[in-house]
Symmetry: C2
Subunit: 189 residues, 2 copies
């Protein structure tokens, strides 16, 4: 046997506890000790299982990331393969935007721990790469790789949270702005 039963149970308990804490309306500081306590487990158990707090957070979103990646890679069009490039780009933007809205607290935590690590994260790299691909497919005569980073940065959870809570922008307005950003093309002058 590769894993002891209690270890598996505890692992799940920790993931559930972290998820629950981050899911709250205002999570406040989601600390290692709080997660451990909520899971009814010692801090060391959390760390041994996930390496560090960053690893735990990544483990919490991992299934959600995988689900979205599946939809993108093998789901039905236009989010999955197939369909007109224009529609694929917009469907992808919507999916990404919803993903950030759904997991904003989690993502903010990731963004906060060493920003480089957030962009370097395999999941982020996938989102950005796919974004660039779809921008290119939509034939935008621009530096698609840079624009992909710019658009991805525009959907950072901290930015969106700020625009919503402090600037009172509706999600629809932000979403619309995002689509415009990705639809823009240089003036033909």
């Amino acid at each position: 046997m590769s894993q002891r039963a209690d270890a598996i149970r505890n692992r799940a308990a920790v993931l559930d506890a972290a998820e629950a804490l981050f899911r709250q309306d205002d999570p406040g500081p989601v600390t290692l000790a709080r997660i451990a306590e909520t899971a009814g487990v010692g801090k060391a158990t959390v760390l041994r299982r996930f390496g560090d707090l960053g690893g735990l957070i990544e483990a919490v979103i991992a299934p959600k990331v995988a689900a979205l990646q599946d939809a993108v890679r093998t789901g039905g069009p236009p989010l999955g393969p197939g369909g007109p490039p224009e529609a694929r780009l917009h469907a992808y933007l919507d999916a990404l935007f919803d993903f950030v809205l759904d997991n904003h607290a989690l993502i903010r935590a990731l963004e906060h721990r060493r920003p480089h690590a957030y962009y370097a994260n395999p999941a982020s790299q996938f989102w950005i790469g796919e974004l660039a691909r779809r921008l290119r497919a939509a034939h935008r005569p621009v530096d698609a790789d840079y624009l992909a980073y710019a658009v991805f940065t525009a959907i950072r959870a901290d930015v969106i949270d700020y625009l919503r809570s402090e600037q009172h922008m509706s999600t629809d307005r932000i979403r619309a702005g995002l689509h415009v950003l990705a639809t823009l093309s240089p003036p033909g002058r």
Copy 2:
């Protein structure tokens, strides 16, 4: 007399020390204790003068912010008032971009302490407001207020540092991408 001489001297020493530390190529963690030690002063002196670390950092960039704001408000065109809207927008973007490059460590420190605080900062609000104004003046048929936030977010120091150091994008490429971002208009379909 409103201020004692030694207080003034120490205040300057602290500002110089902080500036020097942040100015280094790789500042590493610029900590309260390190700033105090470099300035030859106790930590309490730093805190009493500036409230907290955030206040100190803001005090360090304040003169640079003021200088750029002066150039924007009362300098010669196209950065200052006057000139064609198109040129004014580009000159402003260049100035803002250079400003971030020059002060990236300082700005990253600000971004890192509660992202909301960074955007809410009066200086940031000025940059964003002016950006929206110039976007509107250039007659972009878009949500200028949102686009201003998006562009401002694209010149976050953490993002630019990442693109340069990890993605090996040249500053010229980033700068060009930025100009394109602000020059784009929706396709006329």
